[in-house]
């Protein structure tokens, strides 16, 4: 069995206004204690039958960890699981909290892919988002490209006052060596400071039309640069797609370690307790048993996020019958949103923009 491993580091230097990720602001002492817990979590769930071929250390901002802590974590994975020598090992990182030297040390520790949360290069847009930034990130990105074989950037669309021009500026500042981009729509999560600012009228969101236009522009520019959209929000140059995330989109099993981390394992989904409960108890894992119907729905939901969809054979292998047979009524009614060949099924570009609407019809 070959799976991806996710490790959650729920710490940030400060909380961005729009963020609803599970992360908290904590000092060094808490982070150290947490790493101890994480090592214990890995050990507790030792499984020498399972090969890990991708590791993703996400957060929060795992860039806050010390290189030796990262090394320790990877060693623990190697010790208690089978860590593939060629594993893709990604570290998520806020450019604010690292410098060239730490990046080198991270590389040394075994990280071979870096994902940098940039969102935008534009100062005032970053301020609008309520995100901390003291220096332009350009130099750090350049350093990252020279240190890591693969580097990905996160960008955001839909920031109030963002324009085609600011986007163009962003694109101009992306160095050639970047092989992967995640482009997310700014999402308003209730109860975040940003949402309150929108509700109070302090900031005004762009119209859907404006955002759609910017997105179209961005896609066009990225294509020209040799990026291919391979998932709803992800773009990659050849061989640069995130192998770890492809595990999710292929609906493979995966293991999650750390506070709030989720695993899918043989039809059961486990969620670890969050801080501080996870530091205390043994029985802090929640379980959700996934019925066959649920697994099918999730399988389709994930696989249809991919631009190329999926091979029908794979569904057949997993569930024992052809997907079109299984969901004949749904595919009939929704035919216009799909490209269906004897081997492959994918959403059309428009269908992909309405992924949620289309997939909700598959709920049984």
């Amino acid at each position: 069995m070959t799976v991806g491993a996710y490790l959650h580091i729920p710490f940030c230097d400060s909380k961005c206004d729009y963020c609803d990720f599970y992360s908290i602001v904590a000092g060094k002492k808490e982070r150290d204690a947490y790493v101890q817990y994480l090592l214990g979590d890995i050990k507790k769930r030792t499984d020498k039958q399972t090969t890990i071929d991708t590791v993703f250390i996400g957060g929060g901002n795992p860039g806050l960890l010390l290189p030796q802590q990262l090394e320790g974590i990877l060693e623990a994975l190697d010790e208690h699981y089978l860590l593939d020598e060629k594993a893709e090992i990604t570290l998520e990182c806020n450019p604010e909290s690292v410098n060239e030297a730490t990046l080198r040390a991270f590389r040394q520790a075994g990280i071979n892919r870096l994902s940098l949360g940039v969102q935008s290069f534009n100062e005032s847009l970053i301020q609008t988002l309520g995100r901390q930034r003291s220096n332009p990130p350009d130099e750090l990105i350049a350093a990252a490209v020279s240190i890591f074989p693969r580097v990905s950037l996160d960008l955001m669309i839909g920031i109030p006052a963002q324009t085609r021009q600011t986007l163009q500026d962003d694109l101009n500042r992306i160095p050639k060596g970047i092989g992967h981009l995640s482009v997310y729509d700014l999402t308003l999560y209730p109860e975040t400071r940003f949402a309150h600012r929108v509700e109070s009228g302090a900031v005004r969101l762009n119209s859907d039309e404006e955002n759609e236009e910017m997105e179209a522009f961005l896609i066009e520019q990225l294509h020209a640069e040799g990026f291919v959209q391979y998932e709803v929000s992800n773009y990659a140059k050849p061989d640069q797609a995130s192998r770890h995330n492809l595990h999710y989109w292929h609906y493979d099993d995966y293991r999650g370690f750390g506070a709030g981390a989720v695993s899918s394992w043989k039809g059961v989904r486990y969620t670890q307790a969050k801080l501080p409960a996870c530091l205390l108890g043994e029985n802090c894992e929640q379980q959700e048993i996934l019925s066959e119907a649920t697994q099918k729905l999730e399988w389709l939901m994930m696989n249809l996020r991919l631009t190329n969809g999926f091979e029908r054979q794979r569904f057949q292998e997993r569930f024992g019958l052809d997907v079109i047979e299984d969901f004949s009524k749904e595919f009939d009614e929704l035919a216009q949103w799909f490209v269906i060949t004897p081997r492959q099924i994918a959403l059309t570009p428009k269908g992909s923009r309405f992924h949620h609407t289309v997939l909700s019809a598959f709920v049984r």
Binding site: D208, Y248, V262, R305, F354, H355, H356, S360, V363
Partner: protein
Amino acid sequence: MKQKMIRNFGIIAHIDHGKSTLADRLLEITHTVSSREMTDQHLDTLDLEQERGITIKLQPARMHYTSKSGQVYNLNLIDTPGHVDFTYEVSRSLAACEGALLVVDATQGIEAQTMANIYLALENNLKIVSVINKIDLPSADIEKTKKEIESILGQTTIFPVSAKTGEGIIEVLEAIVNEVPAPTGLADGPLKALIFDSYFDSYRGIVVMIRVFDGLVKPGMKIRFMKSGAIYEVTEVGYFTPKKIKSNIINAGEVGYILANIKTIGDIRIGDTVTEFSRETTTPLLGYKEPKPMVFSGLYPIDGDDYPLLREALEKLKLNDSSLYFEPETSKALGFGFRCGFLGLLHLEIVKERLTREYNVTLIATIPGVVYQLTMVNGDIVTVDNPSKFPDRGKISLIEEPMVKATIILPSDYVGAIMDLCNKRRGRIINMEYLAESRVLLYYFLPLNEILVDFFNQLKALSKGYASLDYEFANYEAAELVKVDILLNAEPVDAFSFITHKDNAYYKGRDLTSKLKQMIPRQMFEIPIQASIGSKVISRETISALRKNVLAKCYGGDISRKRKLLEKQKEGKKRMKSVGRVEIPEEAFLSILMLDNDKA
């Protein structure tokens, strides 16, 4: 029990004057309900009544009271609703009684429904015992209230009480046993009992609520329902406390229930006389004059497959709400449903809610309207209770609408504002009287259609809550009315059509289109909404197309949550009605009801 020890009385009042709370005290003092079981407004047994704090259904309760003279009486009270829409509950209750306990709130005085209920009691020849309630409140004006009652009823013995503290309650009980006449039926005559209510119990069949006038009824007796002709053998009898308590017999003069394993709904008619099969009464009761529904609306199941369920639910609910009228109809937009008649908007809302809660059918209701009388060009006269069935204007020579005679009671300070309101609603004053020094009675003719929506709220707002309203059907009158249609995506949606005066058509059309724009979620295509009279568009709105509907991030930790969002979206869709390509949420139909929620 001997009839001379029995007292049957209904509790009547304007809404909120404290009938049910007073009943609580009576139940308490007579130890009918133990203090452990006691709850506020104990006789409001429906969840809906408790939640809304109003009584919807009549509810009998039997009590034993040992009077000051040491005699044990069998008292049967029936708590009744105060809202004008439920007056039929009051009249049905009073027909089973010899007395009425009239409750008047000392902080409000006589109100419109107080008057209406006094008339009902007098029509039924009941002895009225008057009480002034809420005397514990600082704003209580006992003297003034007393004078108002005196001037109407000519009574001088009036009992001040507090249903909250219990003050004065014993005196009221004494007055009931001393003043209200005992029943005087033929105890050994042939059974003659009045059906005043019923309900469906899925295990035991129909529970028939009766008042025995002559004779007695007990298990094993073969009975006949005289109007329906149905014959059954009684399996159980009993009474209410309000819990159903089994007993051996119900004698002349008593109120109770019978069970006879009755499953055929049509066999039970409210107002029918129950008699003994082998010894029939020769003087069946007159029964009730069925109230005429005033407000009509189409009820449709959101899920078309629920149509048979809805039919069954309506039939069963009618057992417990005999003023409900329904007949099948179809709508182009909504499919199969029922045109239903109600006594008012609150009644509509309650029926809809009860169907959903008690029978599990989710419904939408079309715009409520009234019944119009049309004289056609060819001389035919037709009545129309559904705007979508309105013939072409060209074929109609005269449209007449129902008028009501409204009674409004209010402090004289607000007369000007309320008269303005009535004039705006096309009202015509009939008369104005002084009830007391500063209390005025206004009589108006008003088009029923004009007071259905938001009239009552306005009335309350303009009088700081002091004006009260009662109305009854008067006659039909000609008016310049037009039919406004609503088009979604260029398709007329019959369920949204409505009739209004030509002067109001424009703003009402605009109001509805803009409401719909807010209520209908954006879809994958643009949706124009138009209001039109005939082919003339009078207002227009557009719901722009949804640009995108995809969840930005979806990684390992998000899968369950995102799947649940899909499930939620699907669930939400179940509460949407597809009309053509457009999906309309249930709430949109609710919002167009624009219900005048408050109490009359």
